[in-house]
């Protein structure tokens, strides 16, 4: 219990004091607002206890947007600090903390929930199912992720942020060199969120394997479902490694074990190996669903079936396999010798082949298509060249011998931002523009969306393109400042200005959401884009049971065929049967809280308190074991009423393009 209470809250930094005040004010504001609007009951019964995959998906996406804001602020602070040489805006320690939390939050608490959220909303609809296989487990996944994210986020005001980089390499991340509790947050919060992700992975694999509608064989699944499936398989194969790595880190830091320490026979590079054994597949967990999103959007807005469907499936399988055998390329400089480095160079460069196939397939899908330049399509188009820059520099970095030059420079930082931002963030934006009407029943404004698009894409290139050249000139990553003599100043300034444009793009996006909630036309059909897959064959927003009658499928682009042949678009009263639904449950939320509280105590090494909170977790599991709730049935009359409401809407979309 060696915690000093006077160090509990971080004090003495005006930036952090400002954040503390802002957090308190926001929380008071939320509580007051919900109370004033008398929305507590609504919040509890409609959202917090929900097991509906669409609502869980929306909660994931909202959390992702909030975390994007948090991670983005970290990024802007870094860019402000390095905008001029010898700046004294942030000190070295504060800068360390900020690049650490920026990385962790952007990967694990922004990109992951955004994609898992979109998977949640879309996958059951695309396969013509009524929900995921385990709806309550799905809610638990979300609340574990959310508990972990919140635990990680309070670190910078209570106790101190982790400061050893998002990779948290040992020996730096060990107790010897990072004696504070910041890195305990890393070990514990990521563990909690990671368990949630693992459970999501299992849920989606079972859902996709067992719950596809009649006629949808594996090779007739939409591409987004395919990529989500493979990403889920990678989650199951990779996340347990992270679980173990974090547990061993916890043992090292909290209980004096010697896995990664310099003394006692530990091996610091063992951490690097375990971390990247998870970490490299992790980037493919992110990018594969994004590839699926692009496939859907490009096919829809080119009015063509996806080109080379089979080769697309084959290439994601190859990417998934290769993703498991490239982890050493993150630390060629460990010095494993030329043979090992050569093998990993080859596997790394081999990934460019299936990825290249996918790029050509997208291009061929567009060829001779009747392309419609919606915002979703624009993001998909911008993705191609930007991602190719990321990919080609990746091949440069993948060459073991050359990597000794690039290692730990800003060249690498620019490379992975050029893969992750076009590969994931563009995809998330594209997906939000594309599936927004499916989630909420109105489209986002296309005109404001253009501002969002151009500001973001220009800002992104202006921010990260200079970093390639800075890196080649020798600017190292994670360095909080540089000298005037280095000559880095002009490019750093361009990069900082770029980040401001990037931020303006994000603000335009937030404004677009606000504007569209207030003003967008609600009179839209279930199918505003003239799309091709099953999620568009039902209402927008989707009714709780998804499909009154489960659709039947006999090929790719089933909804397109239904429209063309005018089949299966109507429903007879006699076809409507009552539908079984799972009940809502408060347990997943309570479990998330219990995990969060137990984790918090563990971070502060208050073992007795943590053990007591852990009893709460066990109690929750026992309660669940004895829970025999069988769900409920929606009566036929209610389904008839719901169906007649949306099926009579005339097919006009008024207001979304201005």
């Amino acid at each position: 219990m060696g915690i000093k209470w006077d160090e509990f809250f971080i004090t003495g930094d005006p930036l952090i004091l400002g954040s503390q005040i802002a957090i308190v004010l926001t929380m008071v504001g939320i509580v007051a607002g919900v109370t004033y609007l008398k929305k507590w009951k609504w919040l509890w019964s409609e959202w917090i206890t929900t097991v509906d995959h669409k609502r869980i998906g929306i909660m994931y996406i909202i959390s992702g947007v909030l975390m994007f804001f948090r991670g983005g602020m970290d990024g802007l602070l870094m860019k402000a600090q390095t905008s001029r040489p010898e700046m004294e805006f942030l000190d070295a320690q504060h800068y360390n903390e900020i690049f650490t939390t920026h990385g962790v939050i952007m990967i694990l608490f922004m990109a992951m929930p955004m994609l898992i959220g979109i998977m949640n909303v879309v996958v059951p609809l695309q396969i013509g199912a009524r929900d995921v296989a385990f709806p309550q487990l799905n809610a638990l996944s979300f609340w574990l992720f959310f508990g972990g994210a919140m635990l990680f986020n309070i670190s910078f005001v209570i106790g101190g942020s982790p400061d050893a980089g998002w990779t948290s390499y040992f020996p730096l991340a060990g107790k010897e060199f990072s004696p504070g509790i910041g890195n305990n947050y890393y070990a514990v919060a990521l563990q909690i969120a990671g368990i949630g992700t693992l459970l999501s992975g299992i849920n989606f694999v079972v859902t996709i394997l067992k719950m596809r509608t009649k006629g949808m064989t594996l090779m007739k699944m939409p591409m987004f479902t395919w990529t989500s499936f493979i990403a889920s398989v990678i989650i199951i194969a990779a996340f347990p490694i992270f679980t173990v790595a974090l547990a061993l880190m916890t043992f090292d830091r909290l209980y004096g074990a010697h896995f990664f320490t310099l003394s006692g026979g530990g091996l610091d590079m063992l951490w690097a190996n375990l971390f990247w054994l998870w970490g490299h597949p992790e980037v493919y967990i992110l990018v594969l669903p994004a590839f699926g999103i692009y496939s859907e959007i490009i096919s829809t807005f080119s009015r063509k079936t996806l080109f080379g469907y089979k080769s697309m499936v084959l290439s994601i399988l190859i990417i998934a396999l290769l993703s498991m055998v490239v982890w050493v390329h993150h630390f060629y400089t460990m010095g494993s010798g030329p043979a090992v480095n050569s093998i990993f160079s080859i596997t790394t460069m081999a990934i460019a082949v299936p990825t290249g196939i996918k790029i050509f397939n997208w291009l061929f899908t567009m060829r001779k298509g009747r392309i419609k330049m919606t915002n979703a399509m624009l993001w998909s188009l911008a993705f191609v060249p930007c991602f190719i820059i990321g990919g080609v520099t990746g091949v440069m970095l993948g060459m073991g011998a050359a990597d000794y030059q690039y290692h730990n420079t800003l060249f690498l930082v620019a490379h992975f931002h050029y893969t992750i931002i076009p590969g994931v963030v563009f995809a998330v934006f594209a997906a939000l523009y594309y599936w927004w009407p499916k989630m909420f029943g109105f489209t986002l404004n296309e005109k404001i969306g253009r501002w969002h698009f151009w500001l973001f894409v220009i800002g992104f290139n202006a921010t990260f393109m200079p970093m390639f050249f800075l890196g080649l000139d020798g600017a190292v990553r994670r360095s909080y400042t540089y000298s005037v003599e280095s000559g880095f100043a002009p490019l750093f300034l361009v990069s900082a200005l770029g980040s401001v444009i990037l931020a303006l793009g994000f603000i335009a996006f937030c404004y677009n959401i606000y504007w569209s909630i207030r003003h967008a036309d609600r009179n839209i059909t279930g199918d505003p884009w003239n799309a091709r897959t099953l999620e568009w064959a039902t209402a927008s927003p989707v009714q709780p049971y998804n499909f009154a009658k489960l659709p039947e499928v006999d090929g790719l682009d089933p909804f397109w065929k239904m429209k063309k042949n005018n089949q299966g678009l109507t429903i007879k009263d006699s076809e409507i049967k009552e539908i079984h639904m799972p009940s809502n449950s408060g347990l997943p939320f309570i479990m998330g809280v219990a995990f969060g509280v137990a984790g918090f105590f563990l971070v502060f090494e208050w073992h007795i308190a943590a053990a007591i909170a852990a009893i709460g977790i066990i109690a929750g599991l026992i309660y669940r074991s004895f829970d025999y709730d069988e769900g409920y049935h929606i009566p036929v009359d209610e389904i008839k009423e719901t169906e007649s409401k949306w099926r009579n809407v005339e097919g006009e979309v008024h207001n979304y393009v201005k």
């Binding site: 173990v244 026979g265 063992l270």
Partner: protein, 201 residues
């Protein structure tokens, strides 16, 4: 999810939700295999890094380990009999063999805790060396799984007593059976690669 019951299948497979749960659990076991494989990998990297502390030969009590092994392997067999009884719709037999299984599991756990206490008395703790850190975490993770399995199985037994054999209770029993056999498989690897290899040197 339809609640249609297909009587041609074994009890635990009769409803759609049961089939989903059982497949989900198999996939969860896949994740568990990755978890233990990682722990074995870590042990494989660190197992000779004694850091001047005790070695395998200094601490392992092979006789006790043999008894542990026999207890756990037998418990896997009795778990098999329990599931066999379940398929024969014999609730009493099922519960009897489940209780026997748990007693054997508890015996295993008791021996393992004694083994840990013995190690600590010899001055071989998790803090001593990388070898011992990896040993304790590998064995401890397995032991924690056994502990969790015992508590879980008790819950299932209570539900069997209350509700009898239904598709739901049968599914729960079947899944704990899968879990128990999995722990047995992991132990076989521990016995081989930790104890036998450690004694050979």
């Amino acid at each position: 999810m339809s609640s249609k019951i297909d009587y041609s299948l074994p009890l635990e497979y009769q409803t759609e939700q049961n089939r989903l749960n059982i497949l989900g659990f198999w996939i969860f076991l896949g994740a568990e295999i990755v978890l233990f494989a990682t722990l074995f990998g870590v042990y494989g990297v660190l197992y000779q890094r004694y850091a001047g502390g005790p070695t395998h030969q200094d601490i392992i009590m092979i006789k006790d380990v043999l008894i542990q092994t026999v207890l756990l392997l037998t418990s896997s067999f009795t778990m098999g009999i329990a599931i066999f009884e379940m398929r024969r719709q014999q609730l009493k037999g099922l519960i009897f063999w489940l209780v026997i299984t748990l007693l054997l599991g508890a015996g295993f756990l008791f021996m393992e805790i004694n083994e840990f206490i013995h190690y600590v008395h010899l001055g071989a703790t998790m803090q001593t060396s990388a070898f011992l850190s990896s040993l304790f975490v590998l064995l401890g993770t397995h032991g924690a799984h056994v502990t969790f399995g015992i508590i879980w199985a008790i819950m299932v037994i209570i539900q069997l007593l209350r509700r009898g054999l239904t598709p739901t209770t049968a599914r729960k029993t079947f899944i704990i059976g899968l879990y128990w056999h999995f722990l047995d498989v992991v132990w076989i690897f521990i016995f081989t690669f930790v104890y036998l290899k450690g004694m050979v040197g």
